[in-house]
């Protein structure tokens, strides 16, 4: 099985909310599929080495996921973007393996 490492940004940078979300993610090893994403339903994450600079200090979870469970996001012309989604129904969860939380518990 090929594992892919990703970074999911928590609560759009809101640290207080991110801490609440992190508890659930850690306990159940899952991400919630939110509404109205631009590239289709799913939990979104950047490839670990392609996180944009402006998001590096935002609260985030580093995780691993089975590479067969993800879909790389592309432009209409097929150019690969620097993030992927783990497809799933809106409002439900997708499974991940948490490695670490970053910028969540620090002040």
């Amino acid at each position: 099985m090929t594992l892919v490492r990703g970074i999911h940004i928590l609560a759009h940078g809101n640290k207080t909310e991110a801490r609440n979300i992190a508890v659930d993610i850690q306990q159940y090893q899952r991400l919630l599929v939110g509404q109205n994403a631009w590239h289709g339903a799913g939990a979104y994450a950047y490839y670990v080495d392609q996180l944009p600079d402006n998001l590096r200090d935002w609260p985030q979870v580093l995780f691993e996921v089975d590479g067969t469970k993800i879909i790389r996001c592309t432009t209409p012309r097929g150019t690969a973007l620097d993030f992927f989604r783990i497809p799933g129904p809106i409002g439900e969860y997708v499974s991940i393996h948490v490695i670490a939380f970053l910028h969540v518990w620090d002040d």
């Binding site: 090929t2 080495d49 592309t74 989604r85």
Partner: protein
Amino acid sequence: MSLHFFMSGTTKGQHIMEPLTRKCLEERIFEEVQQLLAVGDSTYLQGLSRIGFIEALENELRFLGLYQHDDRETPAVIRAIVEEHADQWRMEYLSQPDTSISSAQPQMPQIPAEVESPWVQKIVSTGSSFQIAKVPRYSDLLYLQGKPITAQDGIV
């Protein structure tokens, strides 16, 4: 930085942004939205309701670093701008011929690579020499500039 300091007054409890500031932000939003529409999955987006389209745009704009997460004013202004122009964007976008490739059916079935980050172990794949590290950044495609937009950008 919040746009709060650049509000010129209030009407019915709501701030009124300096016209030039709003114009600057509006131009930036227009630029970003055009890029987002260019990279979006039109088949999927056409299926969104008006509200869904607006909220999807808002979600994307959050990740462009246009404002700090504790900034309350700028997202409200962005929401107003997006709502004001959503119908125009949807009409223009929906009127385009659908030549997109669904993100649910990516062209690259396997992503290979020797990723240089120490966090990433070797990601194995077959049949391609594509390197993740050489993939253009989403932010580059969107012509993202490094700093968050502030009202000062619009002051002359």
